[in-house]
């Protein structure tokens, strides 16, 4: 019996001249919970695909449970007991739970005919493994996300998984669901299943894992026991940069109220009241389903409110459309940059100037290409978008730079109230730092900013005051000294 369930050595892999992996090692002991961390593009997903047989490495060796695999194929990996649970869970939303659970095994057995009884038996066996209660005949698209994940996990266990790889498993879950997932992981561990999970959430990594491997730019940075790691070291190993702890300066309270919300309700939240002052950074935080996103949409005219009032600069207003919000000087940087924020294949110029077309156009809506280029060039320089040519599609930029483009688009409107929903999701630590710095500078100049985020560290670092939400209701208000990890945790954030 080998001591290590997985031993991967010196893996190299390049795609068309780009070296994604430059000799990565990954050793996982039997029965442990191992965390694989690193910034976007560090090679995390590539190494997973190598282990699960979807990519053939250029160099390097793979050993599973002491047995070497010169050529790993997806089928071979499954036979060796390796199961990957992808972020999208690899499910079929249009089919029943039974079929979702049974397909893999039936296909692996090379069966050609559907045997309904056998399907049901397999499905029942699968859900029993984690005592998962679900209507087996339900269509998967009608189930909540957590159930979908549990389907993926129980399916993985069916194949006698010895090593389960989970790719950022908690991203889409609520606090309760995360707790349940952690219980299940603990159970699995008791039954001798090894877990490799990919995450960059600090608290999770420290709570769950026995040991950690960090990758950067396709290379190993460190592998060690979790007990030997600290939060500061973790950030350093991930980015290769030392960050000075930001000295939190509590802004002098400016009494001028820019935005006041009173007893506002809409589908997703109810009875929310708060004041936003000039130069203030207000955090709105809460778990998934707390209503934080809905609140930001309502303030931007994308969600109809059912009751309550919104007052801008002393005047009661109704925000019925994005155009109305824009006119009032409200801007929103949406949650999902890729599907809500950017026009990926279009040029950076178009992506920046989109919100300002009305102002940049001459009579009769005619626009001069040069005007657009100048405007865009100004913002690219001002906000520091790293690109050689702003006529390139915005999809050629990194996540952080893409986020800066969305920011620039709205700053160009010179808003009074800037709302950012998840401003640094999927952004690497360096760019995250830049964005936080920028927000503080904007606030200093008098802009009122709302940061909607579920990242406790981000909220504590950037915000003056914080509203905590849960289940669509405001559960607390924190400011100054009271705003820290413990107080936020107490509010179930």
């Amino acid at each position: 019996m080998a001591e290590n369930i997985l031993s991967v050595k010196g893996i190299k892999k390049s795609f068309g001249g780009v070296h994604a992996l430059k000799g990565v090692d990954l050793v996982i002991k039997k029965g442990e919970t191992h965390c694989l961390a690193g910034e976007n593009g560090c090679g995390k997903s590539t190494i997973i695909k190598v282990i699960s047989g979807f990519y053939k490495p250029d160099e390097g060796s793979i050993e599973v449970d002491g047995k070497g695999y010169p050529v790993m194929t997806p089928a071979e990996a499954i036979r060796a007991g390796i199961q990957v649970i992808y972020q999208d869970f690899s499910i079929f939303p249009n089919l029943t739970v039974i079929e979702n659970l049974a397909f893999n095994q039936v296909l692996a057995n090379k069966k050609k005919v559907v045997n309904r009884k056998e399907f049901r038996r397999i499905a029942e066996e699968a859900v029993k493994k984690i005592n998962f209660e679900v209507d087996l005949d339900a269509l998967v698209e009608t189930l909540p996300v957590a159930d979908k994940q549990l389907i993926a996990i129980s399916r993985a266990l069916l194949d006698n998984a010895k090593l389960i790889i989970m790719d950022e498993p908690t991203t889409a879950l609520t606090k309760k669901e995360i707790e349940r997932l952690f219980e299940i992981i603990a159970d699995l561990k008791k039954n001798g299943v090894t877990i490799l999970f990919v995450s960059h959430k600090l608290d999770e990594v420290f709570e769950l894992s026995d040991s950690i491997t960090i990758l950067r730019n396709g290379e190993n940075v460190i592998s060690c026991a979790t007990s030997e790691m600290t939060e500061e070291k973790f950030a350093y190993y991930m980015t290769g940069r030392q960050f000075e702890k930001h000295e939190k300066v509590v802004n002098k309270r400016n009494d001028e109220v820019v935005l006041e919300v009173k007893e506002l309700s809409a589908p997703g939240f109810e009875d929310v009241s708060f004041q936003l002052h000039k130069g203030e950074i207000l955090g709105i935080t809460g778990q998934l389903g707390s209503g934080r996103t809905e609140l930001s949409l309502a303030l931007f005219g994308l969600l109809k409110t059912t009751s309550g009032t919104i007052t801008m600069n002393g005047k009661e207003v109704s925000i019925s459309s994005v155009q109305a919000a824009q006119k009032l000087g409200i801007a929103l940087v949406p949650e999902d940059r890729l599907t809500e924020g950017l026009f990926l294949p279009q040029s950076i110029i178009r992506n920046i100037t989109v919100t300002k077309l009305d102002q940049l156009a001459k009579k009769a809506g005619i626009i001069n290409t040069k005007t657009l280029e100048e405007e865009s060039a100004k913002w690219v320089a001002d906000i520091g978008v790293a690109t050689k040519d702003h006529s390139l599609p915005v999809q050629t930029l990194s996540g952080g730079n893409q986020q800066k483009v969305v920011l620039a688009r709205w700053l160009a409107n010179n808003p009074d109230v800037l709302i950012l929903n998840g401003p640094t999701v999927g952004v690497d630590i360096g760019a995250k730092h830049d964005i936080h710095k920028l927000l503080r500078e904007l606030a200093k100049k008098g802009m009122a900013i709302i940061v909607v985020s579920d990242d406790a560290a981000e909220v504590i670092e950037t915000c003056d005051n914080v509203i905590a939400m849960q289940g669509g209701k405001v559960t607390g208000f924190l400011s100054g000294e009271d705003l820290n990890t413990y107080s936020l945790a107490a509010m179930n954030v």
């Binding site: 068309g16 155009q323 294949p345 279009q346 280029e373 390139l392």
Partner: protein, 331 residues
């Protein structure tokens, strides 16, 4: 010159080269028949109707949708204005006031039909293909009801003369097409509306989040397509001196072919009007040339067009693949 501009130019350049090559081949192999003013005039006349409709389909495809109803909007408008001229102007007399009124009515109906398409697609969220599939039945049905299913003819001479009018040797119909192409090119490349159409076609949701009025942009896009179709209907009314509810049903598919050949991305967001216009001319030159061979059936054009469509798709695919590879290396 920025890159997006350059990319469009590449495509137009390719199309122009193809056009020149075809014209040269035609001129050298069928010199006596092809190199005649009359031939070029008839090329210009024939392409106007479906050329106009292709422009409409083109902007709809750029906006991320498709318009299958153009032909039937054209027929409906042709029938309505034809009937107005026929009923309101006594046989043998001329009345340019009524002719103009009839033409304006046609254009208003075209705009309404287009706006209805846009309403279904944007407000009700019906996929463009299905919505215009439904409205094409509807518009054709209305045309059948209005015309009683028969051909509308017997138009005043003053109007049908427009079908053969030459302005400085150029057929009026072709001039109409040319003006429409130029105006649309300008709208799409030089106005904020045009820019918004491209952005909505790229990502509707992002467009909403960026403060673009998605619904009104789409409704206006389909309205333009409707108006252009109405003009196409008027052109054909003048040329063939009649209108019928199911005239030119093959134009629908032909228009989509032209638009894709002209370089519009079937998924929306990219493409240019000049490209579509050149594709129209290429196809008409080609089919006029093929007509000069008595042995070759007209239907061979279909074969060639289909092959051309698939070939262009594959060529664009290969070019784009290289381009993305280059961009990946750049970043």
């Amino acid at each position: 010159m920025n890159r997006t501009g350059k990319k469009i130019d590449d495509n137009i350049l390719r199309l122009l080269v193809v056009l020149v090559v075809f014209v040269l081949i035609a001129c050298t192999t069928k010199t006596s028949m092809f190199m005649q003013v009359g031939n070029f005039q008839s090329i210009g006349k024939q392409l106007a109707e479906y050329g106009l409709m292709a422009l409409g389909v083109g902007i709809c495809m750029i906006s991320g949708g498709i318009d299958l109803s153009t032909v039937y909007i054209a027929n409906l408008c042709g029938i309505v204005s034809g009937l107005m001229m026929q009923r309101l102007i006594p046989q043998g007399e001329e009345n340019s006031g009524i002719v103009i009124l009839a033409m304006l009515t046609a254009i208003v109906i075209g705009a309404l039909c287009g706006a209805f398409n846009g309403f279904l697609i944007s407000k009700l969220n019906i996929p463009a293909m299905l919505a215009t599939l439904g409205t094409y039945q509807l518009y054709m049905g209305i045309a059948v009801v209005i015309s009683g299913g028969s051909t509308v003819s017997g138009l005043p001479k003053g109007y049908t003369a427009l079908g053969t009018t030459l302005v400085g040797g150029i057929p009026l119909a072709f001039l109409v097409f040319l003006v429409a192409a130029i105006v649309l090119s300008f709208i799409m490349s030089k106005t904020k509306f045009g820019t918004r159409v491209y952005l909505v076609g790229t990502n509707e949701k992002s467009a909403v989040f960026a403060g673009i009025k998605k619904n009104s942009t789409l409704i206006r896009t389909y309205m333009i397509s409707g108006v252009i179709s109405a003009i196409a209907g008027l052109v054909s009314l003048a040329r063939i001196n009649s209108a019928k509810a199911d005239f030119g049903s093959s134009y629908t598919m032909q228009c989509i072919l032209i638009v894709v050949l002209g370089g519009v991305n079937p998924n929306g967001g990219f493409g240019s009007i000049p490209g579509v216009a050149i594709a129209v001319v290429i196809l008409q030159v080609l089919s006029s040339y093929l007509n000069m061979f008595p042995d070759i059936s007209n239907y061979f054009r279909d074969l060639i067009w289909g092959v051309a469509l698939i070939a262009v798709l594959i060529i664009n695919f290969v070019i784009n693949k290289r381009k993305t590879a280059r961009l990946a290396k750049l970043s």
